[in-house]
């Protein structure tokens, strides 16, 4: 048999009864294993490991950006073809949506005697950044973008692509940052169903591709294809109000059933992001802010 452990073959050579001088696992391996285990424990506590991550961000971010621009053509080539069609479709949809939203805002202004909740009409100040890397080993729900603190990006900055929300910045470096996508199991966004205006929470699903909608009121009617938009956080951080999250694509179970599962598909394909927009904080004069149309 070709696959046998070396230790076995050594033991055959060693006279029986003579105690082994070396342990089965070499000492350096043991030490490294212990280091890895203690890193996990240290990271659970937080603190020291933050510096390690920052160092990784400072060194790794630019390297990924460089590698991405050096190899960029290879992974994005198949996407580009789809993108032009998708862009066309996005454009018409967003034009329709604009009209729709404007109508809704007007109606709201009239019906409720208060300020419109939905400031989707207001311009958000954004910068665009290239996506240079994705969650490397265990999950696909985080990406690196080539924009950081130097560009005015802050923790919890909302990230958009193709007119829809895709996630928020969860870690900032100097020239790059990590974006936690909506599909991340740790991600949760306060949302509203368009039409019925019911409130819900959109959390990352277990398959890391779609979102689960957790309705606050289990008796609410949900329709297939219904659009889901953000409620908005206080002061618009992390999430501004009125951004598209996705559409309801699947409803399992009947109204009122405790196990009713409503699935939302993100509007943008989160596994094929090329370029994203990061929403800059408003009225921040100290930073140089580039505005994108």
């Amino acid at each position: 048999m070709a696959v046998t452990t070396r230790v076995d073959s050594k033991q055959q050579r060693r006279p029986a009864g003579k105690p082994s001088r070396r342990s089965r696992v070499p000492i350096p391996v043991l030490i490294l294993g212990l280091v890895a285990l203690s890193l996990m424990l240290l990271d659970l506590q937080g603190g020291v490991t933050g510096y390690l991550r920052q160092a990784g961000m400072t060194v790794g971010g630019p390297m990924q950006s460089w590698a991405n621009s050096a190899l960029g053509v290879i992974p994005t080539l198949p996407d580009q073809r789809v993108n032009t069609e998708e862009l066309q479709r996005d454009l018409t949809i967003s034009q329709q949506r604009e009209v729709e939203l404007q109508l809704q805002v007007d109606q709201l202004r009239e019906q409720l005697d208060r300020r419109a909740v939905d400031p989707a009409g207001t311009e958000l100040e954004t910068i665009s950044a290239a996506v240079v890397a994705a969650g490397p080993l265990l999950s696909r729900t985080t990406v690196t973008v080539a924009a950081g603190r130097n560009d005015g990006v802050d923790l919890d900055t909302a990230v958009l692509a193709g007119n829809a929300l895709v996630g928020r910045v969860s870690e900032v470096g100097r020239t790059s940052s990590t974006v936690q996508l909506l599909t991340d199991p740790d991600s949760g966004v306060g949302v509203r169903l368009q039409g019925s205006r019911e409130l819900a929470l959109a959390v990352g699903g277990t398959d890391q591709q779609v979102l689960d909608l957790q309705l606050f009121d289990p008796l609410v009617d949900v329709e297939l294809g219904q659009r889901v938009i953000t409620v908005g956080s206080p002061d618009g951080r992390p999430f501004p109000a009125g951004l598209v999250v996705g559409d309801v694509t699947q409803i399992n179970g009947v109204v009122g059933a405790p196990d009713r599962a409503v699935v939302i598909e993100p509007k943008t394909d989160l596994s094929a992001l090329d370029e994203v927009l990061l929403v800059l904080p408003e009225g921040d004069g100290a930073r140089e802010i580039r505005q994108q149309p």
Binding site: L32, G33, G61, Q64, P136, L138, D186, T206, Q208
Partner: protein
Amino acid sequence: MTPKQWQYLVMALLIGSAVILQAVVAARLPLPGPPLGLALVVVIGIGLAGGTTAGAASGFTAGLLLDVMPPAQTTLGISAFVLLMVGALAGRVTDPRGLAPAQLAGLTGALAGLVWLISQGLLWLLGDPVAPWSWLLWFVLGTTLIGSAVIPAVTWSLRRLEPAGRRRRRTKIASAAR
């Protein structure tokens, strides 16, 4: 530089580029399941060619880099621990040159499955989100596929740098310590 130093340099370059390519290319390919384990197969290759200690050290390094570099968000040390184990296990194969392609594929698949199960177990223990079960299959399949191309290349390039007198024997860095 001595052949040994050349070997270390090549290992470092292999690990560095595998870690970068894994995040920039492998993780962004539109494939089902988790990102392809490019760093994993490079570690297996180094383990097969270099022995237990070399495999473990390179696995630890690659894993730590993956853990620390953006956009990783899982608990620090998980990938380091898992890849260290895989590197060490691959280093225990006595006669890596005698491995038939099918045996190599089987070994890669088994190690990939092990990586997936142990890392998911650790994530679960540490309270981090766990991936769906179906991803185990995708991970094993994908890793085995790229492994059958990458591992022979890695072991071949490391053996080319083996000191001339030792190339005939089953040379491993670990055995030099004896």
